[in-house]
């Protein structure tokens, strides 16, 4: 299977996402100006500072030609994973509900965080079943998840809250400790922590991020079967 990793001016963790995806399948970079998704079966919108986070994080990237194709792809049920800045882009593009605001502590913060696996029954988390927690690094300045009360109630009820910061780990002030949410159909998933930086125990001690990418491959293989 082939992952496509989007590359905007200012993307930083695109290379890291590419490396991680290649542990699980094939992967290539998709340039922002190109509408062609080149047969990629799953899309990763990576972390970084696309367009310098100018105006609002992700606000400009969401209008790029490649995102037009990704939006169509998502509407047709394609798998889309948004990591950190990617999560921000997907919210701006309204492929995911809510918005990411500035951290409550007003600072960029980098920490290894413990995440509670709330929904292990999504195309992004089935391969994580059996665990109740994942240890994944988070590094961002605007990761405070916000949605209005009605939306939050709906997300909880529909199982769209996929990951939560474990007790004491929520440094950005996200409502209901939400770290990652998926779309109603479940094919689009965004999270602030970086699973691509938890695929090799040599680098920071945890490879818990790998199961997210493996889940995506299994979901595609299942769909083909």
């Amino acid at each position: 299977m082939k992952f496509g990793v989007l590359q905007f001016p200012g993307s930083c963790d695109d290379a890291d996402a590419l490396t991680a995806a290649r542990l699980v399948g094939d992967a290539e970079l998709l340039w922002h100006r190109d509408r062609d998704l080149r047969g990629c079966e799953a899309i990763i919108v990576p972390g970084g500072f696309s367009y310098g986070d100018y105006l609002r994080a992700g606000a400009i990237a969401r209008f790029s030609p490649v995102m037009e194709s990704v939006i169509e792809f998502a509407h047709e049920g394609g798998l889309v994973l948004g990591i950190c800045n990617g999560f921000q882009v997907l919210c701006e593009a309204q492929l995911l509900p809510g918005a990411l605001l500035g951290n409550a502590n007003r600072r960029f913060t980098f920490r290894q965080v413990r995440l509670e696996l709330v929904n292990a029954d999504t195309p992004f988390t089935r391969a994580c079943a059996g665990r109740d927690h994942l240890s994944i690094p988070a590094k961002h300045a605007s990761g405070r998840y916000y949605a209005d009360e009605r939306t939050l109630e709906r997300l909880e009820a529909e199982g769209q809250v996929v990951l939560r910061y474990a007790r004491g780990e929520n440094f950005n002030g996200s409502l209901r400790d939400i770290a990652g949410v998926c779309s109603e159909r479940g094919n689009v998933f965004g999270l602030m922590p970086h699973p691509e930086h938890a695929v090799d125990e040599l680098l920071g001690g945890s490879s818990d991020g790998l199961c997210i990418l493996r889940s995506m491959r299994e979901a595609l293989e299942g769909a083909l079967a």
């Binding site: 001016p9 500072f49 590094k139 930086h197 680098l203």
Partner: protein
């Protein structure tokens, strides 16, 4: 010398203008002689910058020539944008440290941010992808609101720039000392990786080749001092004038990220013949240095320079320090492709001149020749001055204010040291940095004595940046040797062999005999230590005149060192790992309270020298520890530094979140004395026995429990503190930045 004076409508400047620009009268006369006549406004502005201390190193160049710069691993030595060493697998690591002290005292966020931007450009100007940053900062005591403001601003600026551009900040150091109160130090080191044959020179070559400026547009940033040359109308309206020439340069990391990717792609496609970044003195220094290195001349057309503001004067365009700009030499047939690549990455690009066969820099606008300067006069013929060193006749520095009573228990002393600004945990600071982007970081801050980054061939790079300015003040020669050894010791604890060194010499006014003495002794120590370690200097920076009414800063030769370890899986760690592991003190450690942190907390004056160091024995101990770490049998290795043995042991407990019980003889000198050549290691008994075959190993005790306890042989408890207590003391900085 052709007479360009007639071509410029402004009056020819006089020696008075030269003095206002920072030149001396004899320097001005020499310029007139070399130039062939009195230079015009534009020409004088260019000379004043190229002949400034910052660009010409007038007071330090002769001294720097005494440093060792050659070695088997050196690929690029001093003189290029950065130095580089061979790190195996066909790769070279480019690295350098630079300072941005004076701008940061004015505006710490932008000063520090643009400092990062500048050093990163030096790295990719050499052709290497920047892979890591380390920062070395110094401020006054944190009791001062100004210090907290500067620290917060500087860390925010470094974080903003480094995080946004996607280069991890993997290590660093911060010191708080009164002599830095009015002259803070912001030094930034960067590392980059490139295939060795991809490294590019900055020498312009090939008459007829095009000069292309790419990156951000040019504005009035950083013109500052040269503004005395402003044409009459602007100069008269003081308020307007000042507003039009911001002395603070504002960095744009997003622009630099695009510039970086564009530059690396141009190099990968072999479209560039040479590359130079624009830093201090902007186009003036870049063009002169490229021409000088290549032994060629350069013709410039400043009407082709993309400007941010419409009505800029020629001298402004030539001295502007607008950030995020690069200059390259391109064969004419490749110019179109180069400009297309710039467009792809959404950076501006313009042909602004060409290389010539002569030896002149010629500046034209719309065809009119505005200035003509001999390259040699600009770059090579600036006078170099001899220093006139003499040791100070009286102490230069007042003792620190005492914060600890003269007599206290060892437990009180330990907790006070762990809580002191120089020793407490820097977590609240380094958590603001992305330390893992690019996926190479094997050891995050506080995990080991050095930062460790994975290499593609299974090996790893280690890097450290160190200097204890107070100890250098006590004894410039020995203190500097100690700083170099500190770097090498940190590398050894990670398992790495030093390959090369960079340095940033931060000193006061070298025209004063006692500062000249500090500088001379420090450089002597730097040279001796680097030679003994086979870790030559591959590049560096000098920042002088760091002093004010309150006196000079501590002499602070900041040392940066890079090393390699063959097996990434065996990078060392500093924290104790398992209950039951044995703990030992390794090496010729000869502790002394002279100039120690404990002595500082007590408000004691600096001694007039430090105990001498047995260089050979210390280096041998480093080698033994390095080999021990490489076998993979040692659970931890930690260099004993500020605070001495007790603090080092406490740090190992804190990092490993586990206690220890050790036995010592007692006495403050043994517990808190400082000096080179001491290492705390832990591991299974036979691992330590193996180590003892190579070096002096003194067993101290065992890892385990929830407390750190030191007892004497006859069972008397010297000190005991629980992990929670140690942790609480260690967390002081957090309270300062709530």
């Amino acid at each position: 010398m052709p007479d360009t004076a007639a071509l410029v409508s402004e009056a020819t400047p006089s020696v008075k203008d030269a003095l206002a620009l920072g030149l001396t009268a004899p320097e001005y006369e020499l310029i007139c002689e070399l130039h062939g006549r009195a230079p015009n406004v534009l020409e004088l502005a260019m000379y004043s910058l190229m002949w400034s201390e910052h660009c010409a190193y007038k007071h330090s160049r002769k001294l720097l020539r005494t440093l060792p710069t050659e070695g088997e691993h050196v690929v690029v030595g001093p003189g290029e944008n950065a130095g580089a060493v061979d790190v195996g697998g066909g790769l070279a690591c480019a690295f350098k440290v630079e300072s941005h002290n004076h701008p940061s005292a004015v505006e710490p966020f932008q000063g520090a941010a643009t400092g990062v931007g500048g050093i990163l450009r030096d790295i990719f100007a050499l052709g290497a992808r920047p892979i890591a940053v380390l920062d070395s900062l110094r401020f006054g005591e944190p009791s001062s609101a100004r210090t907290r403001y500067l620290l917060d601003g500087a860390v925010s600026g470094i974080a903003h720039y480094g995080n946004s551009i996607g280069v991890p900040t993997v290590g660093g150091e911060v010191y708080f000392e009164e002599p830095y109160e009015h002259n803070c130090l912001i030094n930034v080191m960067a590392l980059g990786l490139a295939p060795a044959e991809r490294l590019v020179s900055s020498a312009a070559a090939g008459a007829g080749n095009a000069l292309v400026l790419f990156g951000a547009s040019t504005g009035r940033d950083g013109i500052g001092g040269a503004s005395v040359l402003a044409s009459a109308e602007l100069g008269e309206e003081e308020g307007d004038g000042a507003g039009k020439r911001p002395t603070v340069q504002v960095g744009d990391p997003f622009e630099e990220k695009k510039l970086l990717e564009c530059s690396l792609e141009l190099l990968a496609r072999e479209l560039l013949l040479s590359l130079q970044d624009l830093g201090a003195a902007g186009l003036t220094s870049s063009t002169s240095e490229m021409a000088s290195k290549g032994g060629v001349g350069i013709d410039l057309d400043i009407s082709a320079v993309p400007l941010r503001e419409a009505d800029m004067e020629p001298f402004e365009i030539m001295v502007s320090e607008s950030q995020e700009r690069m200059l390259c030499v391109v064969a004419p047939e490749n110019v179109e492709e180069v400009l297309e690549c710039c467009e792809k990455w959404e950076v501006g690009g313009a042909v602004i001149g060409s290389v010539t066969g002569g030896s002149l820099i010629r500046v034209r606008r719309d065809g009119d020749l505005l200035g003509e300067l001999p390259v040699r006069a600009l770059v090579d013929e600036c006078p170099l001055y001899d220093l006139e060193p003499a040791p100070p006749s009286a102490p230069l520095y007042a003792p620190a204010r005492a914060t600890l009573a003269g007599s206290c228990t060892p437990r009180e002393a330990l907790l006070a040291l762990l809580a002191s600004p120089n020793l407490c945990s820097r977590r609240p600071l380094f958590e603001r940095y992305d330390a893992i982007v690019q996926g190479r970081t094997l050891r995050r801050p506080e995990a080991a004595d050095a930062a460790v980054l994975r290499l593609p061939d299974g090996g790893a790079l280690a890097a450290s940046i160190d200097c204890n300015g107070r100890r250098v003040a006590a004894d410039p020669y020995t203190g500097t040797v100690a700083a170099v050894l500190e770097c090498a010791a940190n590398l050894a604890c990670a398992g790495a062999q030093p390959l090369g060194t960079t340095n940033n010499l931060n000193f006061g006014n070298p025209e004063k005999a006692h500062i000249a003495w500090q500088l001379t002794e420090a450089v002597r120590g730097l040279g001796d230590a680097c030679r003994a370690l086979y870790a030559p200097i591959v590049g560096g920076n000098v920042s002088l005149y760091n002093e004010g009414a309150g006196g000079p800063i501590y002499p602070t030769p900041v040392i940066g060192m890079v090393g390699r370890l063959p097996d990434a899986r065996r990078a060392g760690r500093l924290g104790f790992a398992r209950a039951g592991d044995r703990i030992a003190l390794v090496g010729p450690f000869a502790p002394s309270l002279a100039a120690s942190e404990l002595s500082k907390l007590r408000g004691e004056p600096l001694p007039d020298r430090l105990p001498s160091i047995d260089l050979e024995a210390v280096i041998a101990a480093q080698a033994a520890v390095r080999e021990g770490v490489r076998t993979g049998t040692l659970a931890s290795a930690h260099d004993v530094a500020e605070g001495g043995l007790a603090v080092a042991l406490a740090e190992c407990c804190l990092a490993g979140a586990i206690g220890a019980e050790v036995e010592l003889e007692g006495g403050e000198e043994e517990l808190f004395g400082e000096g080179a050549g001491g290492f705390i290691v832990s591991g299974a008994a036979d691992a330590l026995d193996q180590l003892a075959l190579r070096v002096r190993v003194r067993p101290l005790g065992t890892v385990g429990g929830e407390a750190f306890t030191v007892s004497t042989a006859d069972g008397r408890t010297l000190l005991s503190a629980g992990l929670a207590e140690l942790s609480g003391a260690h967390a002081t900085l957090a309270a300062l930045f709530a």
